[in-house]
């Protein structure tokens, strides 16, 4: 029955090919794409059932399609793997993905190039599934870059427009996403080479069928090895590999310092933001670390760095989200922040907690994006929150759904986000002994709640600030997926409920992580966190729905700017990281390119070396030319001189 697992990615691939080459009508494209993902979901369930039959110590289904590369001793298979970790990821991808596909049918109705849209959405699901189902790091990398490609294709969906709200050029945003991701990918490649060089294989686990061994179980083998960095000392090999992986994760999962592409990625249609930039692609970095946890568990690994990056990103992302004026940009920075939580969790070794948050976040963030899309769709296409207000009367269902998502994100008991987020915070405080990390995460939680309250207040409460606006609720294809996701956000806590530990037990064969024992201390911490968050949420709502509400005007700064000034401006521009990169990297690179091209290459190499040689030869020829005077007498003289020399030579020699 193992062959079932290749059906899971095969359906979306088929959907892509059909949509790209055969289908012409929008309706057919949407239904085909959604059905394919739905079939994929069904196949996932079937595979999970089949997985139950596998022995506990080798709980995985494998299916090798063919041998991908076989160059000398470098052998990599095109093989799929299905174990509990893969299963939960696949469920998320196909489940949430399927719902988003259905939603898109309504959302892109009447929009440009819908067939292409659905083709690329299917391609994305395929690539993401390849990523989580790969049985070796190289095939994972195929999925890794594949999702980056689809991100490019989908962000650039409106490539013929010069600008989409809030003033981003979609083509530039798409290129930026790809290039910044590529930087991470380059680090990933380096990590791949290092792993292959030191372990001799890129497969995760042993594959007796092909005679390939896996490296994950051999992580300890390289425990003592170091890399000579010359003047910089010795770097433990494991630290080097995991550090490179961290850079890759920073690129793909939008962590510091490579997150600048994510806010601009909002230039794509909203379902794209929901699927790719909230639930799935950005979580692949977390998956990578969890899959490679044996490497990160090593004492010398870069795991502490992972924690630091995660915590910092969580905090910075949240602060930036507070000051955004575009409905999707708030959610974008929020995603960056929540990804920080997940990354921090796996950096502490709390892999289950990280996965837990990955799953719950996938649910409620997708819900939030879809609901935001519902708002945007309902009010005619713009995304500026200053132009909204008082929408809960015109969009009651959307309001309720958005509220559920916001409460879940803020970590309010008993919605899903509460359980997963607090498990991470508890882990930070008690197990990892990093009270500083825990405090920052609690603070971030409060800020998160604040900006969600702010958003709810600005959008749904107060008076409608745009007189020209006419809002209408979304159709049923858009509504039902959101309701399903809202259901998930409400009961998602059950995934790893304290005491039940379903996720932990399910992932036991892969992660072997001990169950969290819930102490009273944790309960108190959780209560504190929730109360703080609830208070912050209320504060955010009250400020923007009541207190400052009269001063929100279209086209003007957020009223808080008056009080916080530059601090607010800093938050609004994401602390200027993007601006910094433009100044430090992009512009100098461009200038240097021109310089190299015109000065070094044209004048220098071509001019001095090549043309210089040619000119030198020409001058030599011109010099020699002077000998050819044309006068017979000169030639006679030269004869004479030559004869004298020859005679003298022979005379003196003899």
């Amino acid at each position: 029955m193992n062959w079932i697992i290749w059906l899971i990615p095969a359906f979306p691939l088929l959907g892509f090919l059909l949509n790209a080459l055969v289908v012409r009508r929008e309706r057919d494209a949407g239904i085909l794409a959604s059905v394919m993902v739905g079939l994929s979901f069904a196949a996932t369930i079937a595979a999970m059932v089949s997985l139950e039959g596998a022995p506990a110590d080798a709980k995985r289904l494998t299916w090798t399609l063919w041998e991908w590369i076989s160059a000398a001793d470098f052998r990599v298979a095109f093989g799929l793997l299905f174990d509990p970790l893969t299963a939960v990821m696949a469920l998320l991808i196909t489940g949430v993905g399927g719902l988003i596909h259905v939603y898109s049918i309504g959302y892109v109705h009447g929009d440009v190039r819908p067939v292409r849209f659905f083709a690329f959405m299917n391609l994305f699901v395929f690539a993401m599934l390849m990523l989580v189902m790969a049985d070796n790091l190289l095939l994972l990398f195929l999925g890794w870059e594949g999702v980056g490609l689809c991100s490019f294709l989908l962000i650039g969906h409106y490539f013929d427009r010069r600008s989409v709200p809030p003033g981003i050029n979609p083509s530039d945003a798409a290129v930026k996403a790809f290039v910044v991701n590529r930087i991470g990918d380059a680090a990933m490649l380096a990590a791949l080479f290092a792993i292959f060089t030191n372990f001799g294989t890129l497969s995760f686990y042993d594959n007796p069928q092909l005679g390939i061994s896996g490296y994950l179980d051999q992580a300890f083998v390289v425990a003592g090895e170091t890399v000579d960095l010359g003047a910089f000392g010795q770097l433990p090999l494991i630290a080097g590999i995991t550090l490179l992986m961290l850079v890759a994760v920073a690129g793909k999962s939008a962590q510091l310092p490579l997150y600048t592409w994510l806010p601009d990625a909002m230039a794509g249609p909203t379902p794209v933001s929901a699927l790719i930039h909230a639930a799935t692609m950005v979580t692949s970095g977390v998956y990578l670390i969890v899959r490679n946890h044996t490497l990160f568990d090593q004492p010398a690994s870069a795991a502490p760095w992972v924690l630091v990056i995660g915590v910092m990103t969580a905090f910075i992302g949240a602060t930036a989200a507070v000051a955004q004026l575009d409905i999707k940009r708030v959610l974008a920075y929020s995603t960056i922040s929540q990804l920080g939580y997940m990354v921090a969790a796996v950096g502490m070794g709390a892999y289950v907690a990280g996965m837990y948050h990955l799953l719950t976040h996938g649910l409620f963030k997708a819900l939030l994006f879809l609901a935001a899309g519902s708002v945007i769709h309902g009010i005619g296409g713009h995304q500026d929150m200053r132009r909204m207000g008082g929408l809960r009367d015109d969009l009651p269902t959307t309001f309720r759904l958005y509220l559920i998502g916001a409460l879940a994100l803020s970590g309010i008991f008993p919605l899903a986000g509460f359980w997963s987020k607090d498990e991470i915070i508890a882990h930070a405080w008690f197990d990892a002994r990093s009270p500083l990390a825990a405090i920052i995460l609690i603070l971030t939680s409060a800020i998160t709640a604040f900006y969600m309250g702010r958003q709810i207040g600005m959008i749904f409460f107060g008076r409608p600030r745009d007189p020209a606006m006419h809002a209408h609720e979304s159709g049923s294809t858009m509504r039902w997926p959101m309701i399903a996701l809202a259901g998930g956000a409400l009961v998602g806590g059950l995934i790893n409920f304290p005491g039940l530990h379903w996720l932990n037990s399910y992932l036991r064969p892969v992660l072997q992580e001990p169950e969290v024992i819930y102490t009273l201390g944790m309960g108190i911490l959780a209560t504190i966190t929730t109360l703080v968050s609830a208070g912050a949420a209320y504060l955010g709502w009250k400020t923007y729905a009541r207190d400052l509400e009269p001063r929100i005007r279209i086209g003007k700064d957020d009223p808080a700017f008056r009080y916080l000034g530059d601090l607010w401006r800093g938050m609004e521009i994401g602390w200027g990281l993007d601006w910094l990169y433009q100044r430090v990297f992009v512009r100098p690179y461009r200038a240097a390119s021109v310089f190299l091209s015109q000065v070094v290459d044209r004048e220098g190499i071509d001019g001095v070396l090549v043309d210089g040689t040619a000119h030198g030869l020409i001058r030599l020829a011109q010099g020699l030319r002077l000998l050819q005077t044309g006068y017979v007498r000169t030639y006679a003289l030269m004869f004479l001189v030559g004869v004298i020399i020859v005679v003298a030579f022979f005379a003196l020699r003899g």
Partner: protein, 100 residues
């Protein structure tokens, strides 16, 4: 007997006059005359050695040289006449069309 060295000295002297003439003079006819002078100085040297060694071979070679000189003068004067027809001058310095 006149010592052989006198003859050789005379030969060398004539040769030098010839070379100087070739290098210095501009008139083509004088150039040819100088070349003849050089050839004849070589003839003189050959005859001298033929006598000194009582070897007829040297005198035989003189015949060869005379023939060559005659041929060379014939061709050279023909060339000169041809050039004169176009250039109207016998000044060697005017014939520099092959200047590089």
């Amino acid at each position: 007997m006149v010592p052989t060295s006198y003859y050789i000295l005379l030969s060398a002297l004539l040769f030098t006059f010839g070379v100087v003439g070739v290098i210095t003079r501009r008139n083509a006819l004088v150039l040819f005359m100088s070349v003849e002078l050089m050839l004849n100085s070589a003839n003189l040297a050959l005859v001298t050695f033929a006598m000194a060694r009582q070897d007829v071979a040297g005198q035989i070679v003189v015949f060869f040289v005379i023939v060559v000189a005659a041929a060379e003068v014939a061709v050279g004067l023909a060339l000169l006449v041809a050039i004169f027809r176009t250039k109207r001058t016998t000044d060697v310095d005017e014939i520099n069309a092959l200047r590089g």
